[in-house]
Structures are given as structure tokens and as C-alpha cells.
Symmetry: C2
Subunit: 633 residues, 2 copies
């Protein structure tokens, strides 16, 4: 027989736990699970906040990160920005209370979201060193800065201001600086603070980042003066809304009718769509929201999923763009002298559970990149580098699912991360990136996201395959050509000698043996101008009549000789060459180093099996690129 008091005894132990106690105990879920990672996480949270604050206020970010050892395994970390600063009364809560922030309820792309990051840093600092944090904040137009020394009462999750003061801070016109002491370990290599900032610089070319580690100073210069497109806050989209959320929205709504509720509180719900939702749900459009039952709400949800509604607006997202991805990669990859920068792909925005997201992929191939190792994967989410948990990330899983062999990379057993001299960059931008944990190290396996990454990867991979094929074909043909050019004249000479006749003309013979149209291009760069020469030789027995297409941004074209025709994507030449005849095209293109090292050439009107050095023109040159190539497979 069970003791009658036992439930009572057990009840006495049941207590409330504060959210900061919870995270203090589980600090590894915030990214503080090892001394090395702790430093990176602290820097990451500070830099995320700094970049978000600057962008929100429309300021070109100037970030300064300092790390100094104060004793064995203890470092002083300072992160400073030129953002708008924080008003004094909010400073304690922003830095000293977990789950306090401005971006939690807003639906738009930003780095921080939960209001845990930076207060988590302050908490771990205090936990590992016993020291409070120091915050400096100066808002626009103020002469002096507020200085607040701050710790966290973790038992109650509230800030404790140790001291406050007003100080002079001339270094910036406005901005925020946080200083914390943290137990940690500073290392070099792939998972270091330096590497973290370097990768941050790749996807934030509009930021200037200065990093001072002990007595060394690194500067990642700004590569563009243009701020990323400012993201707009949107309303929730009907496709993603959960029943519980809908009930909560209905409860707090001030709308008098259910159709106006739908129109006003959701994005992409026009009067027509609102009426259609109501009619599919079998609910009177004029019904008062307060009178909606759970069953009716459920009917509304089902109706929302049946009615065709436009995808959410994408101005809540701010992708990096192909141009800046290439620039960023070039910046990092220079030392490897890669032979090919695959044109980066920025997909159209897509949606998972009502959350808009957008995928971007870039690739680098060849040169001195290691040939027999897995390719390097650079993962980013909302412009933040992901250094840890590669194996648990949807980005990695999407890469592993591609059949890389058919695109020219090795892949053991036909699955897994491919081997080869390549780097793959993947960026996911979303109003809500679904991370697998609070440490935000890996993206969860959402099918829609994996699919989008897969499509972008395949598009890049197709370019890579074209490139590798072209290179191989050219090499083979060149080898054959060289042999033919040596042997045929020799045979002709010998034969003539034997029969005692003059050596016959052999150009035609060579042509007959080769039977190809040769296309080749060489680019030279200097002072903002690319000098490109395209050579076309007809080594076929018959006249070659075809069109040659280039892919060049219209604004880049300064001169073309012969002039050709302009098309939506570049220039087209209609060419006719007799056997052995050749043509040279010269282009002058404006651009930055790297833009046109290897221009894309396509032919049309000629059997592609005869062409070396150019690809067949994709199906319909005028439709959206992703689709063209999709069709080809």
C-alpha cells in the first residue's frame, strides 16, 4: 500500500524555474559548450546585434571587435558599433534579461530574433568569471555616452545595475559598445574568431570589420558602399498559421467582421480572397471574430490551405545577390587561384509554413584547392556564418543528396559530401530561419528548404559540369589537333618523297580529320576594363552557319567588334565561315576583377556535337534562367 503522503511530499519539491536559470544550466544550447566556442559565440552575438542595429537605422556598419587575454583562460571581449545606440532606460533589459528584444514579433529577415543572444553572453560571462558587463551607449545628437555596469539576477531573470555613469566617448558619433569577461580559449584555424569574422565579411560586404586580437589587428574592408536592401516587416501569411495562433489573433482582434479580420491581419488576403476563405469555410463573412468557435477556426485554417493565395511578399527578405557573392568568394579564395567561379544563383523567394525564404548558392572550382578532400562548405543564414554542427544541417544534407558524379565531382558510393577541388557557399535568408537549437548552428531539415537548396545547387552544378566538360573536350581536341598537325604534314612529305611528287596541300585533310568548330576565348583585365578575344575557327568540311551568344550584363558592354546584335542577356553574332576560315571577336567590358575571366558562350543553329568551346543555347533564351536549365535535363 502506497504511503498516502507521498504525493504531498513530492509536491513540495515542485518549483518554478527562471528562464535564465534554465539557460545557465543549459548554456551549451546557447553555444557555450566549450571554451573555444564560447569566445566565438560571444563575438557572434555581439556582431549580429551590431549589424542588425546599424542596418535598421540605415547606417553603413563599422564594427570593432577586440579580444585580450586577462589571465589564463580568461579574456576581455569588446564589441563596438556605430549604430544608433540604445536609450538608457532600455539598456539593462536588453543586456541583462533573457527573452527581451525588439525583433521577436516582427516578421522580417534579421540576424537576432529571440532576445536571448546578447543577454546570454552577459550571463555566461558572469557565470564563468564572476564579473559584470560594461555597456557604453551614445545616441544621435548626444554629447556624452551612458555607461552601465550590469549583472543578471538569474534566480529571477532580471538585470542588476551595479553602477551607472555618464562618460565622454569621442570615438563614435553614436553607437554601442559592450565589454564582457569570459572564460574561453583563443585558437586559430577553421573554427576561430578570425575565421568567423572573415566569413561574416564575405556575406556582409557593406560592413567594415576591425578585429584586434591581442597585439594584432585585422581589417576587413568594406567592398561596397551600398547597404543591403532594407527589409520590410510583413504580416503573417495564411499558409503558415497554426490553429492556436489563429485563435489568439481572433481573441485579440479589434476587427468587427471576420472578412476584415482576415484582410487586415494577414498578408496577401484581398477582399476577394477573404470572401473565398469564408465561403469555403462555410462561415458568414460578416460574423464577429469574437463569435468564432474552435471548430469554425479549424474550418478557416482548412479553407486557407485550399484557397489559392499569392506567396508572401519578398521585400521582408534581403538576399546578398550573385554579384556580391562572387565578390565575397573571390576575396577569400584568391590565394587558391581557382580556375573557375561558377556564376552564383539567387533563387526566387519560396515559402515554408508561411515563412518566406530565399536560397543563394555560389561555387568555386579548381586551381590549388585540394583535390582529394571533401569540398569545403560555407554555410550562412541571414548573413551569419554557421561554423558548427555541419553534419546536422539541412544545407549539408541538401549537398549530400545531389548526385555529384554527373556534375564532375567524385562522390563515394554515390552519396555524401563530394570530394574535389571545390568550395560551396550556401546562404539562406528567411523571416524565420528554422535552427535546430538556440545556438543557431544548423538549419533544421525542412523539406521545402532542402528542395530549394537542391535546385540552386543543381543549377550551379550544371555550370560546373559545362565548365569541366568544356575543359576536357578542349584538352582532348587540342591534343588531337597537335598530333594531327605534326603527323599529317609528315605523312604528306614522306608520301610525296616516295612517289616523287610535290607535297600536296593538307589544310583540307586536317579539317576532314578534325571535323569541328573551334571556339575559344581569352580575357585580360586592367583598370576596370576586360579585353576579351573570342576566336572561332571552322575545322569542318562544310560551311558553318550559326549564331554565337554571350552572357554579359548589358551595362558592362563598352565595345564589341564585330558589333553583333544585343539580346536580353548579352550579344549575339550571326556567323558564317567557310572550311578553315576563322573569325576573331573583340569585346571591351567594364567590370571588376573577376567578373569576366571566363565568359559564357553558347551556339545555336549548329549541331552541338561539332562544337568545341561553347555550349548549346538553352531551350528558351528569354525565360527565367532557372527554368531554362530545368527543362534541359
Amino acid at each position: 500500500m502506497l504511503d498516502e503522503n507521498i504525493a504531498e511530499l513530492l509536491a513540495e519539491k515542485q518549483k518554478e524555474i527562471s528562464v535564465s536559470e534554465f539557460f545557465e544550466r543549459n548554456k551549451h544550447v546557447l553555444g557555450f559548450d566549450s571554451p573555444v566556442k564560447s569566445l566565438i559565440t560571444a563575438v557572434k552575438e555581439g556582431v549580429d546585434n551590431a549589424l542588425d542595429a546599424c542596418e535598421e537605422a540605415g547606417i553603413l556598419p563599422e564594427i570593432r571587435v577586440e579580444i585580450r587575454k586577462v589571465e589564463k583562460n580568461e579574456y576581455l571581449i569588446a564589441i563596438q558599433d556605430n549604430g544608433p545606440g540604445i536609450v538608457k532606460r532600455n539598456i539593462p533589459k536588453v543586456f541583462g534579461q533573457l527573452l527581451y528584444g525588439s525583433r521577436f514579433h516582427a516578421i522580417r529577415q534579421s540576424r537576432g530574433q529571440q532576445g536571448i543572444g546578447i543577454s546570454g553572453v552577459v550571463m555566461c560571462s558572469q557565470l564563468t568569471t564572476g564579473r559584470p558587463a560594461r555597456i557604453l551607449s551614445k545616441t544621435a545628437g548626444k554629447m556624452a555616452a551612458d555607461e552601465i555596469i550590469l549583472s543578471i539576477d538569474t534566480k529571477h531573470n532580471r538585470p542588476e545595475v551595479v553602477r551607472e555613469d555618464v562618460v565622454l566617448w569621442d570615438e563614435v558619433e553614436h553607437g554601442t559598445r559592450i565589454e564582457v569577461y569570459l572564460r574561453g580559449r583563443l585558437i586559430r584555424g577553421r573554427q576561430s574568431v578570425y575565421e568567423y569574422l572573415r566569413r561574416t565579411a564575405i556575406v556582409n560586404p557593406h560592413a567594415k570589420i576591425t578585429y584586434i586580437e591581442e597585439d594584432r589587428k585585422y581589417i576587413f574592408e568594406r567592398a561596397t558602399e551600398r547597404l543591403p536592401k532594407k527589409t520590410v516587416e510583413i504580416k503573417p501569411h495564411p499558409y503558415g498559421v497554426e490553429l492556436g495562433t489563429l485563435l489568439k489573433m481572433i481573441k485579440h482582434s479589434k476587427n468587427r467582421q471576420i472578412n476584415s479580420f482576415l484582410m487586415n491581419e494577414f498578408s496577401r488576403v484581398s477582399p476577394r480572397v477573404a470572401d473565398e476563405i469564408c465561403s469555403v469555410a462555410g462561415i458568414d463573412q460578416k460574423k464577429r471574430p469574437k463569435e468564432i468557435t474552435v471548430e469554425e477556426a479549424k474550418a478557416l485554417i482548412n479553407a486557407m490551405r485550399k484557397v489559392r493565395i499569392m506567396a508572401p511578399p519578398s521585400d521582408c527578405l534581403s538576399p546578398i545577390g550573385a554579384h556580391l557573392i562572387k565578390k565575397g568568394l573571390r576575396n577569400v579564395m584568391e590565394e587558391y587561384k581557382p580556375e573557375y567561379y561558377v556564376p552564383p544563383v539567387t533563387r526566387e523567394p519560396a515559402v515554408y509554413s508561411g515563412n518566406p525564404f530565399q536560397v543563394e548558392v555560389g561555387m568555386v572550382y579548381g586551381g590549388n584547392l585540394p583535390k582529394d578532400q571533401p569540398v569545403e562548405i560555407l554555410r550562412f543564414a541571414n548573413r551569419v556564418p554557421l561554423l558548427y554542427q555541419q553534419g546536422a544541417c539541412a544545407i549539408t544534407h541538401a549537398i549530400e543528396r545531389i548526385k555529384w558524379k554527373q556534375y564532375g565531382l567524385e562522390q563515394r558510393g554515390g552519396k555524401g559530401i563530394p570530394n574535389g577541388p571545390a568550395v560551396i557557399l550556401v546562404h539562406i535568408a528567411s523571416t524565420r530561419v528554422p535552427f535546430t537549437s538556440e545556438a543557431k548552428e544548423a538549419v533544421a531539415d525542412i523539406p521545402e528548404i532542402i528542395e530549394e537548396i537542391g535546385k540552386a545547387l543543381k543549377e550551379c552544378a550544371r555550370h560546373l559540369r559545362f565548365h569541366i566538360k568544356k575543359r576536357e573536350k578542349k584538352k582532348k581536341v587540342r591534343d588531337k589537333f597537335e598530333i594531327v598537325q605534326k603527323i599529317i604534314p609528315e605523312i604528306a612529305r614522306k608520301s610525296a618523297e616516295i612517289v616523287g611528287k610535290p607535297v600536296p596541300p593538307i589544310d583540307r585533310t586536317i579539317t576532314k580529320i578534325m571535323g569541328i568548330l573551334w571556339v575559344d576565348s581569352v580575357s585580360e583585365y586592367g583598370k576596370g576594363i576586360y579585353d576579351v578575344r573570342i576566336k572561332v575557327i571552322n575545322y569542318m568540311e562544310k560551311r558553318a552557319k550559326f549564331s554565337l551568344y554571350t552572357e554579359i550584363e548589358r551595362e558592362s558592354i563598352r565595345d564589341a567588334e564585330p558589333e553583333g546584335r544585343r539580346s536580353g542577356r548579352g550579344i549575339v553574332w550571326d556567323i558564317s565561315l567557310k572550311p578553315t576560315e576563322s573569325l576573331e571577336i573583340r569585346l571591351k567590358l567594364r567590370g571588376e576583377k573577376g567578373d569576366y575571366d571566363d565568359i559564357e558562350l553558347y551556339t545555336d543553329g549548329i549541331n552541338p556535337v561539332h562544337v568545341i568551346g561553347a555550349e548549346p543555347l538553352p531551350g528558351d533564351w528569354n525565360v527565367e534562367r532557372a527554368e531554362i536549365i530545368e527543362v534541359m535535363e
Copy 2:
């Protein structure tokens, strides 16, 4: 010039976020990231709580899980136990408030810890179906049960009681039942509710689990009547304490002197150890805790790490034990008719950051297990199966690091999960299992834990290697033996025929060719008794004098003929056999099916290269097994 109002404008957006709003938004970190997983997570949280409650009250658990479809993608889930029940006034908070629980501050092994699990289920239920949860609770000695219908006010993280009542509930004398409606999807296979409960049954052989899925009913019967050793709550160990925690402990301490503070609030701190810590830290033992500065606290922490302190007591842990692991595996693996159950290994308790933990490993090999696939890994933490995130788990990483080739399993490229007909079970018991996220799906890569798992794996793997080698050797020798037995007499007959003489005796010749000592054992089981026959044949040219050791639990031995000597681990026979002479040993052993299917035999005093069917006796037979085998490598 920046607008002076911008900081003020931004400040207005900064708001508090409630912890349930946070988890509502991030429900995937609680394990609700897909419809399939949601159902499993709900069952898991309920069953965890049920088992914990029963064990805490010393009750043999009887758990009942019911799942019924109520409409498309919506299920009613009920989890019921015969635990002590929950007192009425606490029910709302236990089920309707996140971060409320009894085990957060207690240092001992338990399944639940954070006070998030079951209230998370209620929250997701309400979010996805809009329906409240129903709780029934009956405490010992009560005639009726309390019924509470409950939802969560997520804006403020507090329970809302929709209705309460007193109802008759005769099914149990005392216990708790929770019913929730949940959006989800019910599937079969490796990641199903059924599989989850099956695995739960493996490591909780003391629980009876009934599972009702629609109109099917599965019962996992209790395999032992013994409750797991009750775990004892311990104080924190000095090795793991963080500075911030120490400062908090000092602040709230009622001790008058720092040495009594150390002795009373930490485990394993004797008066001598307390004095040593103070003296290494350079602090007066009699100093009042309130007067300790941050610098002094830091000195104390450093001193704690220098002074030798006993490992934390292990009675806060409750491992499953080799016997029950084997039983559990046998229960699941029967259908594959495996040829070998590797003796499971339970390591001694170890410590990471002051948290005691203990690792157990079991393995199954051969039979109809698939040969050319990766081995199946069964992961458990505190008796809870881990079904997801295998790739991100320390258990998997430890397995991947072993060089399996040397133990007889295939491993591509010498790393990664091995291939072969095997199943590996790993259980980690700890006062604090370091999960990578709140969903508790994978164990974080703590070096000490990976090392301990590695050691246990190697120990099992060595047994496996012995087994595979023995089998291979025996097969070779048997093949050779068969050939020799056929051919030699034939040659003898032919030769005799040719020379016209009688056929010579050939036993000696066979012996000469074979040159081995043959050891073989056969076990038969019936009615709680193993009948084991060990056969020893001397196929060497000279007399064999040696000792034969068995490894048998002393209590199991009922009869042995010849009797032999008892040793610490079993029986020893001192044997002397002339060439071609043989000996049969018969044993009667008490045991359960599976205990002695393949008994371990060792020889001593004979060159092991001549022995087939027994391994050389490990270095020192009397020291702890793990160490013996360690030495051998």
C-alpha cells in the same frame, strides 16, 4: 546626420517575451518539428514523466499509452500511469506552465529535468488543435480522482483552468492520466511510436507498457520485478562548479565559515579536503562566506581543481546492468537469430565538469542481421531511447572513431559507422546528460563521455574479435581436419596396396599434420538449466599439459564433472592429455535463456598458437576485467 529620434523609435519596439511564446515559436527545439515526430515526442514526454514518478515513489510502473485518430491528421493521445498522482493544487502548473518542475535543482539521474517536457506537449496540443488538455490524478488513499481541463496562456506562461471536477476512476488505485489532442501523423517503422516504446521497454525491463494504437493492442511485459536501484540526490562536486554558481552559493549560504561551507554544500569535501582547498587558495578557513571576494572565489575554484578530491558518489546513478541489457537485447533481437551476444559492459562511473555519468554498451552479432549495411545503433540516455539526430550524437561519434577493422567489422576508409551484421547498444546514465538541444535527441560531444563510450566499445569489440577469430580458426581447422581425415587413410590404403603391405596405423600421422589442441563447447538449455559439454582433444605430437579456465558466475554453478577448482571468475581444470587423447567436461549451470549459449574459455600454460577454440588467459586473471584486456593490446 542620423535622426535623433531613431534610438527612441527603436526603443519602443523592445518588449518582454514570455518563455512559452518563445517555445511556441520555436517548437521544433522541443521536438515538435514534424507531424510524425510530434506524436513520438508527446508520448515520450508522457512516458518519461510516468516512469520517473513511479520510480520516485518506489512503484513498479504500469504504463498505458493510447493513440486514436479523431480526424485527418489529428490524434487523441492518452498516457496513464500507476504512479503516486499529483496533488490537485499543483496540477495546473505541472502541466500548464513551462519551466516548472521538481527535478531541476536535484543532482541525480532522472529522465525529465527541466520542467518543460509535458507542459510543452500541452502547449503544442493547444497550438495545433485549439483544444485544452485533460488531466486525471488520483493520490493514494483517495476514493475519487481530480479531473482538470487545462490550457496555457502563452502570453504570460501561466495555466488557465477551463474546468475542474471530481470523478470516479477505478482503473488504478493511484496514478495520473493525461489526454491531449495533437496534429500529427502516425507511421510504422524505425521512427514510430511503437518502436519508441519497444526501445523504452528494452532499457526499462521493470516496466509493463501497454500500447493501444487504434484497434491494435501491444503489451511489453515486465521482464524483471526488481525496480532500478533508487537514485540518491547528491550535492554538487567541486570539480564541476562554475565561478558564477559558487558566488551564488556563497551568497545564499548560511554557514559561518568558509571551510564548513565547503564541507556542507559540496559532495566529497571532508574536513581535510576543505582545509587543503582553503590553504591552496590562500584563504583563512574561518573566513565568513559573505566576506569572500570575487578574486578569492576564483582562487577557491582554482584550488578545487588542484586538490585531489574523490570522484562524486555514484549512488545518484542507476545503470541498467549487463544482465538486463543482454535480456533486453535478446528480447528484441530474437527474430534475427544472432550467433553471438557480446557480454555487455558497464563501465565504472566517471565525471565530466563535476557531473557523474556512467556508460554501458551491449552488442549483438551475426545470424540474420544484414551483412552489408551499417550496423544498427540503439542510443539511450537515462533509460530513454534517442531516435533522432543520430549523426549529431556523441554516441555515434564515439562509434565512428573506433578502428572497427581490427575487431572484425568492415569500415570504409577506416572511419565512420562500420558495416556488418551487428547491433550496438549504448546507454549513458548521468545526473545531467548534456543534450545538444531541448528536444533531447543527441548527446553533446563532451570529451570525457566520448572517451568512456570508446573504452566500453573497445571492450565489447575485443570480445567480438575473439569470437570472430575463434569461429574462423575453428572453421579452417575443421576444413583441414576433414580433408586430412579423408585423404590420409586413402593415401595409406593406396600405398599399402602398391607395396603389397598391410595398411599402417595413421592416428599419429593425422596428429602430426594437425598439431593442435582442440577445444569446443556445446550448450543446451531447458527449464532454467544449461547443460554444457566442453570437449578437449589433443591433436599434437606431444603431451599437452595446461589449465582450462571458464568464466561463469559463481552462483550459477550447479554441477561440474570433472569438478575442477573454483576461481574468482569460474572453474579451472588442470588437464594433461597424451597425443590423440581427449577429455569431456560436463557442466550444469543455472541461468536464464541466453546466459550461457556461448561460454568463454581460456587456456594457460600452453602456447596459444596450438590452441583452437579457447583464448589465452588474459594477463592477470584477478584484476578488474577492463584493465586486463587493456593490458593485452
